[in-house]
């Protein structure tokens, strides 16, 4: 850690971890509702729980991104943050917004659009938070003497993130148009803006732990994000096959989204290559595991699982089934959850000035969460294939088919239970590091 103001990142990381835990608890509740009769149907029905599950996901990840950004920007810009006060204010406003949103859902205060359930008032409040964040980051960056690609793409990512959010705010009379722009938020976040942020954060971590020449790392960063956006922007079309949009999207969406795994595969090679040509000894082995694991899991979850059902001939049968849930869980975990954990395990010890820290627990988190998520992803996947075959292929009744899928939801449940244990250890680890008194051996 080079600058004192980087410390604001700490509270972002802590809240991010706690919300992660809450998300997983609600996830366990959701899968229980698939398996057993639902005693909570009057208090917390499936739709409310799902809104909470997905919104907590978005909130904890954005907390993670913001924390990561506040850690990276001063160091990249070679200056203290423009305003530590604003960074703190923004933290509390975002926390308040998230909590009001979740509590609101419990009382039926909802906009009723999946993943964008936040009521319009709260959506505008989030815009204000985003503006404060962007302003603070930008004002810090312009103090820099030399602009770096990491800075530029990180800023680009957060501006794009905020900009796409705006398309989720209006009410659309036409359901087709509603979903057309809904994907501008959902897809262009996870296959656009978030990828920019994640790639920049990963480049920064790799730069720091491997000591590879900045020119090389940044060159590949450009190539990767270029390919991400080239395939990802028009790749939005893979959501426009069946929603009332023109038929040519089957071609545009099919071809471009089929290429989406390319940049992700490049990231895997790139990461391994940087590690192979490292200039300095990697002391934080845990971060290395998370970084390499993230690249590989990102490729499997987003690349392979995404490709598996992106072509129209397959998507026709799998669209709207648990196949999507399998992909969603694997991809979010591989691409973003693991990235944030990489960042946290890199930055947290440095923020606390811990030259050495006990990595044992972190390795437990790594293995438990990744293996559990593989179990969950596979189980969701099998359930999805059963559903596609029986319900779409054979035209069987929805609820009858759900009965056949039940054993696989049990597998999801047990995978989820394992995952939850991993996340609990993660939260304990983060809290313990974050609350530790500064030690003498400054890094």
């Amino acid at each position: 850690m080079a600058f004192d103001s980087q410390k604001v990142a700490l509270k972002y990381f802590v809240i991010s971890a706690i919300f992660f835990g809450l998300q997983v608890i609600v996830g366990l509740l959701l899968v229980s509702k698939y398996i057993w009769p639902d005693p909570l149907i009057g208090i917390l029905p499936f739709n409310t729980a799902r809104a909470i599950h997905t919104n907590l996901l978005v909130v904890w990840m954005i907390f993670g991104f913001m924390g990561g950004t506040y850690y990276i920007v001063p160091e990249e810009s070679g200056t203290e943050l423009f305003s530590k006060k604003l960074a703190n204010l923004q933290f509390y406003l975002f926390l308040l917004g998230g909590l009001v949103g979740v509590v609101g859902f419990l009382f039926g205060w909802t906009a009723g659009r999946p993943l964008l359930e936040l009521p319009v008032e709260l959506k505008w409040a989030i815009v204000i938070v985003a503006l404060i964040f962007i302003f603070n980051v930008f004002m810090t960056m312009i103090r820099t003497k030399k602009w770096t690609a990491i800075q530029g793409l990180l800023l680009g990512g957060i501006v794009m993130l905020a900009f796409m959010w705006l398309f989720g705010i209006p009410f659309f009379k036409n359901l087709t148009l509603d979903y057309y722009y809904w994907w501008w938020v959902i897809h262009l976040w996870v296959e656009g803006a978030w990828e920019l942020i994640a790639a920049s954060i990963m480049a920064f971590v790799l730069l720091k732990i491997t000591g590879v020449d900045r020119q090389i790392i940044e060159k590949w960063l450009y190539v990767e994000v270029a390919l991400v956006l080239i395939t990802g922007i028009i790749g939005t079309g893979h959501h426009y096959y069946w929603i009332g949009t023109p038929k040519y999207w089957l071609w545009w969406g099919g071809i471009f989204s089929a290429l989406e795994p390319v940049p992700i595969l490049l990231m895997v090679f790139d990461t391994l290559n940087h590690v192979k040509h490292k200039k300095i000894e990697i002391t934080n082995l845990l971060v290395l595991y998370w970084a390499v694991g993230c690249a590989i899991f990102h490729f499997i979850g987003a690349g392979v699982w995404g490709f598996a059902h992106t072509l129209p001939v397959i998507n026709r049968w799998t669209h709207g089934t648990q196949v999507t849930a399998a992909h969603g869980h694997l991809a979010f975990f591989g691409a973003y959850a693991m990235l944030i954990m990489t960042m946290v395990y890199f930055a947290l010890p440095k923020l606390k000035g811990l030259g050495q820290f006990n990595q044992k627990r972190g390795f437990w988190v790594f293995w438990i969460t990744t293996i559990s998520m593989v179990v969950m992803g596979l189980a969701f996947g099998v359930a999805g294939v059963i559903q596609s075959y029986m319900q779409r292929g054979l035209g069987m009744d929805f609820l009858t088919v759900q009965g056949f899928m039940r054993p696989w939801f049990m597998a999801v449940f047990f995978g989820g239970l394992g995952f939850f244990i991993g996340v609990i250890i993660y939260i304990i680890d983060v809290l313990q590091m974050a609350t530790r008194r500064k030690e003498l051996n400054e890094s």
């Binding site: 039926g108 009723g112 999946p114 359901l175 809904w182 450009y222 270029a226 956006l229 096959y241």
Partner: protein, 228 residues
Amino acid sequence: MGKKAASNFFIWGTVICTTVFIWLTIDTHITIPKRTNTDKLTDEVVLGKRVWHNHNCNDCHTILGIGGYYSPDVTKVYSARGETWLKTFLKNPESPDPQRRKMPNQNLKEDEIKKIIAFFKWVDVIDTNQWPPKPVAEAKMIGAAPKETLLGKNVLAQYRCDLCHKIGEKGGTFGPNLTHVGSKRDTLWLAAQIRDPKSHNPNAQMPAFPQIAEEEIHALVNYLMSLK
């Protein structure tokens, strides 16, 4: 390739793809009115969409294949179930079988039900490029009930016949036991009985069900006839 070339690749790649995407978006906007019949997108349909949002239906059900996967897709619910079924179901969606997944009663008002049905009716004819696809084969499993029997069971569950009538082990004792009704009555008698019980017995306690649609009565009677 140097870093400069890489950054140019990034900038131009993004600019070109964004331009193509915006061009496709404009064309999509031009095409959508015809594909979604915007001339039929009345105020009532829009209000129905609001009802759909207000009750957060989309986090359990998918529509156009998007949303929660907990409950059936409703894109084609209007043509699959019909207006009468929808009206009755939306008024009281509780399933009589406690072991099955059920929909909580949303306590919709009469006019809300009317509006949301108008919304479903509009959604039903959106040109979705033939999604959901027609099944490649009808399920034929040994021991599985034919489709019409399933529908008949649904109607039976819908109108809560089980409150008064016993079939097998389940059901009330207020009305006659229906376990072997198929060997006692014929199709016409059953259909007339359901529509107007007083046609057979002026003192009948069973309420009339004139609101059940023709095809539903047909399915229900077929199911009852299978109970030998």
